[in-house]
Symmetry: C2
Subunit: 458 residues, 2 copies
């Protein structure tokens, strides 16, 4: 399948980018995959862009020679978004990592795509503001825009779709477009910001993002409670949401996830289905909310309610949650991550997780399940030995049934990982051929030579 790179292209590329481009095998290998099982597909070149002008020059050169481009942030995607299926250039954005503006009075900032979310929040620490979207990994903002990332705080603050105000992007013809504005809302023309958010690098290369920021809440209380089963944990979630308790985070870890976390993080959490919660607000409000949550959870037989505003304890708890993925990997020595996520209506979540657990039991597996359950979103964290074809086939079978289960209740094949190459077939089942045809029409109209991350999504 791989496209053969003309020598003239390589020579022009070296003239343009000098030391900033590389065809070194290990650099190419590193840019040919994300954090998942998908096979490495290295690009022919890696270019480390440092400015929008670099991106424009690169896009024009690639357009001239018909060379594919795959934008690369921190390499944390999991559905094969970074594979250079048709060769070409990986556009490394890590050096475009300037924070261009923090507009404290407008609760907004402007960043380059290579800024990571931890870098941004570190930079913001003295302003009293923070950027809330938290997919777990220390991804780049550009990557988070591209995959329409969300995470633990989405129930309160929304995902990327709700927090990107505007983008600058370089199109196939080298044009630079600005979507959105400095205003917090607008009805001016098509919602291109939202169209580019989640487009996984297939429509253009993002060079700048304006993001919404939030005041760091005056008080933050974290809590956890364990339940006899997932059913009752999820019932509590539904009641909490309906009763209007202001949740900032509500995460489920099943018994397998807690066992893995306890081993990996040296914690001693009870190994039964557990909700990790967080409340943001004024001191009085968070205590009121936490108390309402405790009562509702205990109505569903929650035990061991623990709540804390101690920084160290809160950090330990969220550190454990964020390390669930790595804890799951460590369950299989030398294992490689194979993760999947679905999102379903919350009313169907308990059934969906319950049936998935039964499926895993039937297959003789103890795979951790963790979820942003307030959104109806959960993950299966497989850890597979390299080259273990049987285990891979088994994971694929279970994933297939998981997605069928999600579709059967009106859910989606991915809540936050994106389509990449891993879920292209599922996208067609979910949306129908006519809807995917609309996506393909848009892709073809904006990238007629199919040079931006070809082979992904559609």
């Amino acid at each position: 399948m791989s496209f053969s790179i003309p020598a003239e292209f390589s020579s022009r590329l070296k003239t343009l980018f000098g030391e900033r481009c590389s065809d070194n095998a290990s650099v190419r290998e590193q840019h040919g995959h994300g954090e998942s099982h998908h096979a490495v597909a290295p690009p022919d070149w890696v270019v480390f862009v440092e400015s929008e002008a670099d991106v424009v020059a690169l896009v024009k050169l690639c357009d001239e020679f018909g060379v594919p481009m795959i934008p690369f942030g921190a390499g944390t995607s999991v559905e094969g978004q970074l594979q250079a299926l048709h060769g070409g250039v990986s556009v490394g954005c890590s050096r475009m990592n300037r924070i261009l503006a923090v507009e404290v009075n407008d609760l907004a900032c402007v960043v380059e795509p290579g800024v990571t979310r931890e870098q941004l929040n570190h930079h913001l620490r003295d302003t009293g503001l923070f950027f809330p979207v938290d997919p777990g990994a220390n991804a780049t903002i550009g990557g988070m825009v591209a995959t329409s990332a969300s995470g633990t705080t989405t129930i309160r603050y929304g995902g990327m779709k709700h927090n990107v105000m505007a983008l600058r992007a370089v199109l196939a013809n080298g044009d630079v477009v600005t979507t959105g504005s400095g205003a917090r809302k607008s009805s001016a023309g098509f919602n291109l910001t939202e169209l580019f958010t989640g487009s996984e690098g297939t429509l253009g290369i993002i060079t700048q993002a304006r993001l919404k920021l939030y005041g760091i809440p005056e008080a933050v209380v974290a809590a956890r409670a364990q339940f006899p089963d997932v059913e009752r944990a999820v019932r509590s979630v539904i009641d909490l949401i309906q009763s209007g308790v202001a949740l900032a985070r509500i995460e489920l870890l099943d018994h397998n996830a807690l066992r893995a976390v306890n081993r990996y993080c040296k914690t001693t959490y009870p190994e039964s289905p557990t909700l990790f919660l967080e409340f943001h607000g004024t001191p009085a409000a968070v205590l009121e909310q936490a108390e309402m949550a405790r009562m509702l959870c205990e109505e569903h037989e929650a035990a061991g309610w623990t709540q804390t505003d101690d920084e160290t304890e809160k950090k330990r708890m969220w550190h454990a949650r964020h390390n669930a993925y790595y804890a799951a990997l460590a369950e299989v020595p030398g294992g490689k991550g194979w993760v999947t996520d679905v999102c379903v209506p919350v009313s169907r979540l308990a059934d969906c997780i319950g049936e998935t657990q039964a499926d895993l039991r039937l297959e003789g597996l103890q795979i951790p399940i963790v979820g942003h359950v307030g959104d109806g979103n959960f993950h299966l964290l497989f850890s597979l030995k390299e080259g273990d074809g049987d285990a891979l086939a088994q994971a694929q079978r279970i994933n297939q049934r998981l997605i069928q289960r999600a579709h059967a209740v009106g859910g989606t094949c991915t809540g936050e990982h994106g389509i990449g190459v891993g879920k292209k077939a599922h996208l067609v089942v979910e949306k129908g051929a006519a809807t995917v045809a609309v996506m393909r029409t848009i892709k073809q109209a904006l990238d007629p030579k199919n040079l931006f991350n070809p082979g992904k999504i559609v």
Copy 2:
């Protein structure tokens, strides 16, 4: 410009729709305009669709004969979105007004496009849920999707873009597509829901919408306070937002708006710049929030802080706010509405309103200004006598300068009214030719014969 309708088209239309289509002059006239100054441009036919199958049949017929289609909801748009610039068929959606499902456990509902927001909230009243987006007018959901409507509660609940989970729409080729899913979030492919939201009928005809619902808050407290000037009112807004006070509504009415409202609604509000606020939450939380708000407003010399949880008083207050538009019209006997809105970064809002007031004073006018100031969005409510060319030219001049002022500070030419025909030139100035070209490319790709609401947006 008007397209000549072939006799065969009309005869086929009558066969298909019988009594449900009309070429009666007054019906056509009524469907040729919204609630604004834009000249009436009646369609050749009005068809009252009753089902998605009707819409598909109509679209196929129009496609066959190259006849334009303009979807019509409640007729409350203000930027000329409903003008049949090239003749054709107005697709009246008022009879597609079924509420198809209310999913209480999932805080969601599914409705046809002709359902109005008041109808929906009336239907929901026994469920403890409500749909929050409130543009003032009793618009249809389809129309609110099409113009990406927002309003008084957007600061807390977001606008349509944030509250539409999925759409069904009929495309130019007669295909029916489903965007989104029953899940509250998804990363599955391009964000078509958001692309269709705000497309003003130019990409297809919406036949169904799945919406997010919210629990009716346990406690609702409304408050108001008047300020010596707009500057101090807006300073208070910035402080309130930064301090994280949970505002459900924060509306500014300037002295001209209050004078008009007092006359029209027989109220006696002090006629100086005033904030109308609302807080939603638990009884303790709303009192805490209201108290914080009072203190912050009084730091900016607010006087006459009044707060209430009395239903009648709250209704009177929001009735007054919602009638500001009609109150402004009534200032000029026989006047017709000529409204415009911009949205700017909140830090620039005080300057922007102040300069606009100065401009109005220089022009010798006392035009009411009202705004969803938490979002940086405000409206000028002109009332013009039919045929008064001088007054129209003056309003256009002032609007031109208003939009230049918004653009100069990074704002947008419309926060919630849309582009229609009224702001097409401003869209190009705001976004640049390259970005508008992207919109046009998408429009052409999805509607190659340009039959869906031609002449709007791009």
